[in-house]
Point group: C2
Chain length 558, copies 2
């Protein structure tokens, strides 16, 4: 009997290729494991054969083969709780969901190519982190921590906003974050990598980018591997500082996004393209993704911390396969993750007043809560309006056009000797034509107004949706500081050690304040430009309608 | 036991008055027959009491009282066939339906007031005309007629177009029409009442109106009778030739319309207002009816024959009750009905070529057939677009507005020290306001474009819908002429008598040609103006949208 495998995860084969879709739990018969580059060939219970990623399945033992008909659900990352005591993350976090399921044609583009081995399958195969322990404070009983620590932080926001970012690397970021706060992290950050927080008119701010740059995401090309068996989309990125194009696939973006999320727990990472993008043609979907990738890239470039970070620079510039691999390994070994990253920060000397910090975070929390609703509302409105334009608005106009056209036709049946009547007939027919054309304009219009607006608000949805997690991470640190104060009051912690904790908590607060401020400044400029562009496009549209109707009206002139 | 009556017809009592709705066949107990002016009071089986028109019920004999539980359906006019052999009229003829049922608040305004006793009930009580016989030709066996006469005329059109006008007075008009054709009508028409058909560049035409005039229909007033028990709507008509206002109720229009339809079987009579007019407020419905009455009146005034006819002049000018009654009696006694009216016509001396007449009528038939579909299509489109504007277009705009407004509100929660942000917040809120306002504009807009267009096409629907009947009436005369030619060939009719028939058939054909031509000329001017007005209103609307959005855009200026 041929070897059998069981699918660990869902995989959607790209239609029209040799790929085959498999469903978690499904049992397949192996045909060929020598396809190469991570692909196996198999046959499912319906007798269909095709390729699937070897990492998505596990071989069954002969014993198992007999009892796999109703296999238990495969381990799923999204069933794992993290140690911040929160389970309510599934509602809004698209970024997270993207990595957990692979059901559209885009992020199926997974394989073991030479650029990297990262990918959803690798991550999903490691669901064991929820067992990890906190690093106990020196001299503090472990029981203290495991009982009541950190259980009212993330969850208190999450229950209100419903979205807390789940980093796949939450455990390590958590541990390393703690080690920073508790002073057990011993790392020297070279001056070149230090990040400064400065006081500006409107509050504390990240020190501005000395050499601003931009990156353009060009229309993607479809590339092939295995002599056409595998094809994928690669986007061309060109940074303004060197003008050298690099080619990146979705999985590279996805890998980058994971690195950024694990490293920066106090900075919302802009989202990757919406999985839900819909379009009538593949080209439209690919183009929308490009636009949303451009939004991602723009936000990265404008952020003083993110734009200079090493993994991003590596992503933007590396063209050499060996260097890519080395940089990738280095990024994955990065130990300045989560709160630990704060060791790179240089903040004003002044100690912060906790009450002022609380006030700012409280206001931010209220704002984000309300903003989250608004931003989701606007994204779904953009989608709804797009459908309206391409559906009823268009077809209503066309019905109007057809009614006038048919009137013109009817009048034409009674054409006689009168010239003016013939002119009327033709004018009425052309009025019909004008409305049909306006229908077509409605169909095309969302590309210029509703879709770009939706793309922008997809960005905001991701950023706003990440903020509760950022606030929770900060709140966790403040909570830990208070715990240390209590321990000191109870003489269980040295005052000197507490002072270190207080100073480091202030660094964390400075980072949050700088980030809140950055978001304010950025969105103010950005939303203004967004609204202006949107309104300009709407105005242009209605002006074109007016022009068309005015030209039509002139047909009736004597 | 109190006297019982059975409803002969449906009657809808006006809500909020003492009127009571009754259903044909329903048995009621009489309470009071002394209400006056044609009203009786009764009680129905549910114990409800109210007023209803005495003419709508009949008293039951004591015998009948015991067996009326399942009364047979009351005789309905619309079940009566006319002698042109056609039953397919029920599809499109609103005018006809209006007189047969009384189920809206407007033409319920029936009573025995002193101005007239005409009204639906009087007509509906005489459904016996289908039994009437044709006047046999002198010397022709009756059997000839009753077997194969006139049975492929109206019906052949009706089956294609689906609308044939049903005059309530079809039998008498038919008989008197025949008497003209057969030369048995001996009437002297004074010169002042003669109507001339002249040859013009574009064909034969009614001699133009020497003193054109117009009539305005003013916004109606609600008037009361019986100290408020009955209230009704009266429209104020002011002719331009004397500037004296007269007050007319629906039933007067209805009476007039019946007179015109029985008199002019070769001229389509413009329709009275659409029974289906819908509106959210009574005022809107009343105003739409006023506009459609104005369309009726305008078409009457512009028609060389209709505008000068006596009953119309009487309707427009009579302010004295006694004179009204006298004129009414005279109009009802008018014996120049149907084809008989043609005795008033003075036509060119030239005999018409039947083949040319056939060609014109055939083209007209094809045209009317196609026009009928188009015109109905446009009226229903106007209704659909009105609902769209007041429904989804409005609510979509408002949803867009609310989404922006809520975004502004959310941003307002994070207002700080930055002036520009505050300005952005307010601009975004006002963008929301602008879209909500555009929603309101959509709601209001149909009043300026779709409703007037619909009112105009209601007129055309009525006229176009009457044309098949006009063509059938003409075709019937031609058929009769051919019959006479056959009789003459068989020596059953004198040649001199035939020549008279031929001459008179030509007069009828001249009238049809003039009317076809009149409709061409009128609609050419009228449709042109209609389309221009419609497009101007659409342009104005979209320009207002552009203005609103441009003003909004300026709010984002620095």
């Amino acid at each position: 009997m041929a070897a059998q495998v069981q699918a660990l995860y869902d995989f959607s084969g790209e239609p029209g290729t040799t790929e085959m879709s498999i469903t978690a739990g499904e049992v397949l018969t192996l045909i060929n494991t020598e396809i190469g580059e991570g692909w196996w060939e198999g046959k499912n219970s319906k007798g269909e054969t095709g390729l699937f990623p070897a990492a998505y399945v596990r071989k069954l033992t002969p014993d198992e083969v007999t009892q796999t008909k109703a296999a238990p659900p495969a381990p799923r990352y999204d069933q794992a709780a993290d140690e911040w005591g929160d389970q309510a993350y599934s509602a809004g976090d698209n970024n997270y969901k993207r990595t957990a399921s692979n059901d559209d044609g885009w992020d199926d583009d997974w394989d073991d190519d030479t650029y990297s081995e990262i990918g959803p399958a690798n991550q999903q195969a490691k669901p064991a982190h929820q067992q990890q322990q906190l690093t106990p404070l020196p001299g503090m009983p472990i029981s203290e921590y495991s009982n009541h620590q950190f259980d009212d932080t993330a969850s208190s926001y999450a229950s209100q906003v419903g979205t807390v970012r789940k980093s796949k690397f939450a455990p390590s970021s958590k541990v390393s974050g703690e080690s920073y706060l508790l002073g057990t992290l011993n790392v020297e950050v070279p001056d070149s990598e230090k990040v400064y927080i400065v006081q500006e008119e409107e509050g504390y701010a990240w020190s501005p980018i000395p050499n601003p740059f931009s990156v353009t995401v060009a229309s993607p090309k479809k590339e092939s591997k295995f002599k056409g068996i595998k094809s994928f989309i690669a986007y061309q990125l060109t940074p303004s500082f060197n003008n050298i194009q690099v080619s990146r696939r979705y999985k590279h973006f996805d890998w980058l996004h994971e690195r950024l999320q694990e490293k920066f727990t106090l900075i919302p990472i802009p989202p990757l393209p919406d999985k839900q993008i819909s379009g009538r043609y593949d080209e439209q979907v690919i183009e929308r993704r490009r636009i949303q990738l451009q939004e991602f890239v723009d936000w990265m470039c404008k952020h003083p911390v993110l734009s200079k970070c090493e993994v991003w620079q590596h992503f933007l510039t590396c063209t050499d396969e060996k260097r890519w691999k080395a940089g990738k390994r280095q990024a994955e070994k990065d130990n300045l993750l989560g709160l630990n990253y704060c060791i790179s920060l240089v903040v004003p000397e002044k100690a912060l007043l906790q009450s002022q910090v609380d006030q700012v975070t409280e206001q931010c929390h209220t704002f984000i809560n309300s903003m989250d609703t608004s931003v989701k509302n606007i994204t779904s409105m953009c989608l709804a309006q797009t459908k309206r334009c391409q559906g009823p608005y268009k077809s209503d106009c066309q019905k109007v056009g057809e009614a006038f056209y048919s009137l013109g036709n009817a009048l034409g049946l009674d054409e006689g000797t009168m010239v003016s009547r013939s002119k009327l007939t033709s004018a009425i027919k052309m009025t019909g034509g004008a409305y049909i054309e306006i229908g077509r304009m409605y169909d095309e219009q969302p590309k210029y107004d509703w879709e770009p607006l939706g793309d922008k608000f997809h960005l905001y949805k991701g950023i706003v949706g990440s903020f509760p997690d950022v606030l929770a991470n900060h709140k966790g640190a403040v909570q830990k500081k208070r715990e240390c104060e209590r321990l000191t009051a109870e003489h269980k912690m040295e005052v000197a050690q507490l002072n270190e904790v207080l100073r480091r908590t202030d660094v964390i607060s400075y980072a949050l304040l700088a980030e809140i401020n950055h978001f304010k400044v950025e969105r103010t400029e950005d939303l203004k430009a967004t609204m202006q562009k949107f309104l300009q496009q709407q105005i242009m549209f209605y002006k074109r309608v007016v022009d068309k109707l005015e030209n039509t009206l002139h047909l009736y002139d004597d």
